[in-house]
Assembly symmetry: C2
Amino acid sequence: MTNPKIELFDGFARIGKVLASRSRLLLLDLLSQGEKPVETLAEQAGLSVPNASNHLRELRATSLVRTRRDGQQIYYRLASPRVRKLVRSLQDVAHESLAEVRELVSDFYQDPDALEAVGMETLNRRVQEGEVIVLDVRPPDEYAAGHIPGAVSIPIGELEQRLQELPAGQEIVAYCRGPYCLFSRQAVERLRSHGLRACRMEEGVADWEDRGFPVAAGESSRSLE
Amino acid sequence: MTNPKIELFDGFARIGKVLASRSRLLLLDLLSQGEKPVETLAEQAGLSVPNASNHLRELRATSLVRTRRDGQQIYYRLASPRVRKLVRSLQDVAHESLAEVRELVSDFYQDPDALEAVGMETLNRRVQEGEVIVLDVRPPDEYAAGHIPGAVSIPIGELEQRLQELPAGQEIVAYCRGPYCLFSRQAVERLRSHGLRACRMEEGVADWEDRGFPVAAGESSRSLE
DNA sequence: ACATTAATTCATGATATACTGAAATAATGA
DNA sequence: TCATTATTTCAGTATATCATGAATTAATGT
């Protein structure tokens, strides 16, 4: 007897196995921000290219990601929004269940000065009213793949050198990949240490879009004249 | 440098590893129906008691389940609704992504005659109007842990012998653990082969409760006089 | 055709995980 | 106290998975 229930749960476990590796979760997390070629994924996840390629192979074998060729590069992307939501659900359960994750998030991921994150609704309203500068501190490829309309793109690594691009008077709201990303917290810390008024939005672009707010795509950051 | 990002994703992967085993997924799926002691879990999941105990130990080590002692028995339960939703999200992604799962679901889990599953809203309305008998075909402990108010409890294994308890005229809507459970499909098949009008509801009690409909608890099935 | 760049494949050794069955622990009731 | 029942622990063996680095394949542009 090949029990269909056993086979069904073997199928479920196949997906579970994919989620059982730090490296694959890093890759899936990166892909939540948009499609990327192998070399970019390897670099941003801190993996060797062959190792990343092997993990991507697993992800493709289970149809969690799809690929597209453009010239010499092969771009990987998540197969569906469902996959992104699964990864997020896993992260949220880990945050809720594991004391070590809770401590990490409160130690490294919650600068006490930056605690008051602004909500998506509030940010949207204040953007409409022209009250704030929205700052996207993710890598340029992620900004290009999708960002909050009107947001200025300054990757976290370039922030110190490009502070003069930001107007001194206006309040700045920084955002990054989402609640488990460090970038926006680091950004707020640095902006404040230079005397700028800054806070952050906890959510990422996908959350923003899920909530029904508009998303813009393309390379060029809005000019601040 | 002990990279906090690495540590964070190691935490995520710890939860992923828990989901990487058929046996643990079976246990989590059973626990989605309510708390159960080890022996029941082992039997219903088709595992030896020591094996089930070891897996439950893993689940408890990651705080995905909690325990309560009652006399000699230790009851396990899911730590939070978030865990149930994570498991369900995993199942849905597997259903969407894996051809083998899709085929299993369509081959074994979708009797062509029983295709037209009634939705939760429709069922609720028809229950209010007294049009249908609702039939819960899960094991008695799951019925006792929570069921649709007014539902009759006849475990799938006892259905053939207890057909006379069901009125011949009225339409019957059977439900079970949810979309990846066989019971309600088998029930509809058997009821129809005995000339009864029957269909099924796809969702389980947790879905029913999530949608805001009421849930009853307790052992005794409604008497059909 | 050839050199270049991007990505994949594969063999390998190291590590981790699974299930089994025997033994130990823990609470209960006679 | 002792036997009973429920559960856990543990050693041992089999199996699976991981990261590495060398070799290979694939597309591009000269």
